[in-house]
């Protein structure tokens, strides 16, 4: 595949749409929600993730932060994906996502992965995998606690 088409795969239209029009950008009341701060110390990206969990279910997810198109679009997609999922399901999808962006075999049937499959393009850009996984790591950290 040429570099140009690699670039186009990295910056798919759906990714840029999430970057320009992020879903779930904002904050949740700290009394109702978990707040997780996560940095990528090597590049300066930061995310603050808010997760509202009731009866082992993620009922609301919002984020704020600064970063590149890949990290912010990934945060937008992740929050969309985990809303309404159980903790177990959210963590399982996170595992699937992690395998996908590392270029490993992944289960694309158990869950409707929707927009997040667009982030597959990062497998060709090893330096950017950390951008894609930042928000997901924040989510895992929050739900593991």
């Amino acid at each position: 595949m040429s570099m140009q088409s690699n670039l186009d795969t990295l910056y798919r239209q759906v990714i840029m749409d999430h970057y320009k029009n992020p879903r779930n950008r904002g904050e949740l009341d700290e009394n109702d929600a978990l707040t997780i701060n996560m940095n990528n110390p090597s590049c300066g990206d930061r995310i603050q993730l808010h997760l509202q969990v009731e009866n082992d279910q993620v009922v609301e997810a919002k984020f704020t932060g600064e970063g590149c198109s890949i990290s912010l679009s990934s945060a937008s997609m992740m929050t969309d994906t985990v809303k309404g999922k159980s903790i177990e399901e959210a963590l399982e999808i996170s595992g699937i996502f992690s395998e996908m962006v590392q270029g490993k075999e992944y289960d694309d049937e158990k869950y409707d992965l929707g927009d997040i499959e667009a982030l597959q393009g990062v497998t060709k850009f090893p330096a950017r995998i950390k951008c894609a996984t930042l928000a997901w790591k924040a989510m895992e950290k929050g739900l593991d606690e």
Binding site: S2, M3, Q4, N6, L7, L10, Y11, Q13, M16, K20, S42, C43, G44, D45, R46, E66, G67, C68, S69, I70, F125, A127, R128, C131
Partner: protein, 411 residues
């Protein structure tokens, strides 16, 4: 006569394609490439002379010792230190600054003493001092930056007081390319009885450094940014200060007598070089110095000045490219920038797709990023083997990035 094409012939790594384009390497402030002379010197050492130093009675031991101690002489003459024992080999600038923080500052500073620095420091010249402040009760004071990312001597005079014990700053900023007047700052420091420390990581590769003329008390730098191998650098310190300091690491090589409960240390510089030293690295470092001096530091500096001026001229027509730092005639060959509306990681990825290597991120200078009001920037940094066509390729790739993201945003 400086001939950039001849220079390029000596750097094997430059002659390759990256992502289908000729490599344009503009990440020199992170690390420089190595000329064939340095690569061959390392090869020769490991092929023919490898041995431990200072103890072998055998022939190879003498050869390795000669190479290692000869390297110290080269570093001494390179920065014009008065005595050879004022040169301590370290892992690099970071370790050199940590030696001063740990063995000098932690021992000498007391509560209320001041350490003066600038917000443009690399993390390696901030965090050791934060740790010293925590350990001793000393306080950190920052000299404010001018809007163009320089410092004024008036502000230095305002900030440095009789309580100041240490003034430390970068010779050249790794982000803004600012060249600090460290000689004049050192005079102010000395007038108040403070010592002057210079982080020379970004100056030593590009300009002639004379530590006696600068009259600094410590000077730290790294070989890998100046055509030498990674894993070695040097700390210069005035003999009377080094003599009065305790070692940084304890173990083999650095001892005089060892008893069950007490030991004594070797003389300078060996008391600061515990363990088997970086022998191959030092030999490569010395060869890099030979190489740079053969080309001429003044030629290298002039060449980079020409490149950065040319790059800034070419960028003037691109209003959406914001360049940070002082005007071209007042900066080293470093160009830190952002394209409005495009994150620097995304810029760097598109540039890389065109074969152009730049750095994107916070450049280990978070406080400076805060001052600039951004979380990250992209940076192109030039060295002796870069050409005007590298600058053209860089600017073309920036245009590609702008168009690319213009299109994807528009979709």
């Amino acid at each position: 006569m400086f001939d950039v094409q001849k220079v390029r012939e000596q750097f094997p790594i430059l002659h390759q394609e990256v992502n289908g384009h000729p490599l344009v390497y503009l990440d020199n402030s992170a690390t420089s490439q190595k000329p064939i002379q340095v690569i061959e010197a390392l090869e020769e050492y490991y092929n023919s002379n490898n041995s431990n130093v200072h103890r072998g009675v055998h022939t190879l031991g003498s050869k390795a010792t000669d190479g290692y101690e000869g390297a110290r002489d080269r570093v001494q003459s390179f920065i014009n230190a008065k005595n050879r024992e004022e040169i301590i080999f370290t892992r690099g600038t970071t370790t050199a600054l940590n030696i001063v923080a740990s063995s000098y500052a932690n021992a000498k500073l007391n509560e209320g003493d001041e350490i003066v620095l600038t917000p443009m420091e690399h993390h390696s010249n901030i965090i050791p001092w934060q740790q010293v402040a925590k350990a001793t009760g000393a306080v950190l004071k920052y000299i404010p930056l001018q809007p163009d990312g320089t410092i004024s001597l008036e502000d230095v005079k305002e900030t440095v007081t009789d309580k100041t014990k240490i003034v430390t700053m970068v010779h050249v900023s790794n982000v803004l390319g600012t060249m600090n007047p460290v000689k004049e700052v050192g005079e102010i420091a000395h007038n108040h009885g403070a010592i002057m420390i210079v982080d020379g990581a970004q100056s030593s590769p590009h300009k002639k450094v004379d530590v006696q003329d600068l009259n600094c008390d410590f000077f730290a730098f790294s070989a890998h940014k100046m055509c030498g191998p990674t894993g070695i650098g040097a700390l210069y310190g005035k003999k009377e200060l080094l003599d009065d300091m305790e070692p940084f690491e304890f173990g083999g090589e650095m001892i005089d007598e060892v008893g069950l409960y007490e030991s004594t240390w070797k003389e300078l510089p060996y008391k600061f070089e515990g363990g088997t030293p970086i022998i191959g690295g030092a030999i490569g470092f010395a060869k890099a110095i030979d190489y740079l001096e053969e080309i001429g530091l003044e030629n290298i500096e002039a060449h980079e000045k020409m490149l950065v001026q040319y790059a800034m001229e070419r960028l003037v027509e691109h209003e959406d490219v914001e360049v940070y730092g002082p005007p071209a005639d007042q900066r080293a060959g470093i160009l830190t920038f952002n394209i409005k509306g495009v994150h620097p990681h995304d810029v760097a990825t598109v540039l890389d797709s065109q074969g152009v290597a730049v750095r994107a991120g916070h450049h280990c200078a978070r406080p400076l990023m805060n001052w600039l009001g951004c979380t990250a920037t992209a940076r192109a940094s030039f060295y002796l083997y870069n050409t005007k066509s590298d600058v053209d390729a860089f600017v073309d790739a920036l245009v590609t990035a702008k168009e690319y993201f213009g299109d994807v945003y528009a979709e």
